[in-house]
């Protein structure tokens, strides 16, 4: 019995890492056997070296050396600002439009029309409006993250069990307490999904915004490295975005779980 549990636990912990490890081994073989030449796909060791130089080396000792902290901080500020903006707008509006039919009718056509425009096509306009830099990136991130946050909050608010709302009403809950004590927790599973999707897409649009030639940021490094032909740095940038993106998702979930019982106690 106990042993079975242990085995299951080990299996559960190993399972997520099998595929990435296998891919790294495959990658190693491919570059070692020269199946794909190094200037197209550098081998993992080179990547590791570049990454450690990028993260730990004395700044200025070589291109990109030691810029990691600064670039990540810059990117994180942009993502946070855009994501925050999208949340402040998308969450209340979504919940409102999920509960009030008139609000939904008022916004729905407009928002779905807006959503049909690919986010990338806002780039030229944003560059004209906001120039190159933080504001364009924040705008693009907010624009992209808004839709999943809004749509999921609306779905969550709409799909709340009406009997739960009735139960609240009969216990004398008014509009204000009803919103944060019944509606918000009731819609929490959907809200959480929306926020996570929104944060995920924020990182995608961050890179788009930073490709326009801002001096710092993880996306900027990738674009810059392409111009001077440093394939290894491009890959390091991609991997770091994956790691930072995953960490920010974990951070978001943890934050929600600390702040809300309903998030903590989701089945």
């Amino acid at each position: 019995m106990d042993r079975n549990d242990d085995t299951r636990k080990i299996t559960r912990n190993i399972l997520p890492w099998i595929l990435p490890s296998a891919l790294i081994v495959l990658w190693f073989l491919i570059s070692r056997l020269q199946i794909i030449p190094g200037y197209l796909l550098p081998d993992p060791i080179t990547i590791l070296k570049t990454a450690s130089r990028y993260i730990f080396a004395e700044p200025g000792s070589s291109p990109y050396a030691g810029r990691f902290i600064h670039d990540t901080a810059a990117s994180m500020i942009r993502v946070s600002l855009g994501f925050l903006l999208a949340t402040i707008l998308g969450l209340p509006l979504g919940i409102l439009s999920g509960r009030v039919a008139e609000v939904n009718r008022f916004f729905n056509t407009f928002i779905n029309g807006l959503r049909a425009i690919p986010g990338i096509t806002w780039l030229p306009l944003a560059m004209v409006w906001f120039g190159i830099g933080v504001r364009t990136t924040v705008f693009l991130v907010a624009m992209a993250a808004f839709f999943p946050i809004y749509l999921n909050a609306a779905a969550g608010a709409r799909q709340i069990n009406p009997l739960i709302l009735r139960a609240g009403a009969m216990m004398g809950v008014g509009r204000v307490r009803g919103s944060y004590a019944v509606l918000l927790p009731g819609a929490m599973p959907h809200i959480m999904t929306g926020l996570r999707l929104g944060l995920g897409i924020s990182w995608a649009y961050l890179v788009l915004g930073e490709l326009t030639g801002v001096p710092d940021g993880l996306g900027a490094v990738i674009m810059d490295a392409r111009m001077i032909g440093q394939i290894d740095m491009i890959i390091v940038g991609m991997i770091l975005i994956a790691i930072v993106g995953k960490l920010s998702d974990t951070f978001l979930i943890t934050l929600l779980k600390i702040s809300f019982k309903s998030a903590r106690r989701m089945p």
């Binding site: 069990n161 009997l163 009969m170 019982k261 089945p267």
Partner: protein, 263 residues
């Protein structure tokens, strides 16, 4: 003998009814056709009286209860509480639902405390004491920190009951609250309800389709017709409490009820 009892009502003359429905009519539009679900339903529930409303499925019992709760407005007629017409749901008329309507993100204790927390006059200590008292009353003291999904449906109904009783509403409306429970649990819950009602002396209006349940619980029974829903008859039950289905005269009440229901 039973017919005789129909006419006597010791409480009727004593005071203003706790809740009174007067000519309550409810029509719904179904595909453009108006359907009358309730037709001039009138009855009164007096203080500390246990009223059961019995009728077949589809006779509009739940609609009537929703109107009394203030969730629905009747097409015609009105419901008054202490002589005042009701307009919206309120903590003077609490509902115990048939379905599970506990807040799934709150523990048993937090669900029971929810209503009290809405009133700022309640101190934290008062809320804690009251919740502890009602947890014990419904026999869930050991389950205070469980989530609704971690307890059985019988326990959930106890929580539903406790979170309503703790608010000490003038009137408790119950919509087939024990219908989904197994026979034994249902009997336990009926006994619990009666003992809590005797201790806390509230006015209860209890909707059910189960004739035995109505006779075990009610001081009086309003018997409803179907299509359209009407009050057919009012039957006063004068059996000693605690009641059980093997009691003397139980069968004769049951016969009378069946006769009315099949008319």
């Amino acid at each position: 003998m039973v017919e005789e009892k129909i006419k006597t009502n010791p409480r009727q003359t004593s005071s203003v009814p706790a809740l009174e429905a007067t000519d309550v009519t409810m029509r719904f539009n179904v595909d453009g056709i108006s359907k009358t679900v309730l037709d001039r339903v009138s009855f009164a529930a007096y203080h500390e009286e246990f009223t059961c409303i019995v009728g077949q499925s589809g006779c509009g019992k739940t609609t009537l209860l929703n109107i009394m709760a203030g969730f629905l407005a009747p097409s015609e007629g009105q419901v008054t509480v202490m002589g005042t017409a009701i307009r919206r749901p309120g903590p003077d008329r609490c509902v115990v639902f048939q379905e599970d309507t506990l807040f799934p993100w709150l523990t048993v204790r937090e669900n029971i405390a929810f209503g009290l927390k809405g009133n700022r006059k309640n101190s934290a200590q008062h809320i804690k004491d009251e919740v502890d008292r009602f947890l014990t009353l419904v026999g869930l003291a050991d389950y205070r920190n469980y989530l609704p999904r971690e307890i059985s449906s019988g326990m959930k109904q106890r929580v539903e009951l406790a979170r309503v009783l703790i608010l000490k509403p003038r009137i408790i409306l119950m919509d087939e609250p024990f219908a989904s429970l197994d026979y034994r649990t249902r009997r336990e819950m009926q006994n619990l309800l009666v003992s809590l009602w005797q201790e806390l002396s509230q006015t209860i209006i209890f909707v059910t389709h189960d004739v035995d349940e109505a006779i075990v619980l009610g001081d009086k029974i309003e018997i409803m017709d179907i299509n359209p829903g009407r009050i057919h008859e009012e039957l006063h039950i004068q059996l000693d409490r605690p009641r059980n289905i093997n009691q003397r005269d139980f069968a004769s009440y049951k016969d009378t009820l069946h006769r009315f229901l099949c008319d």
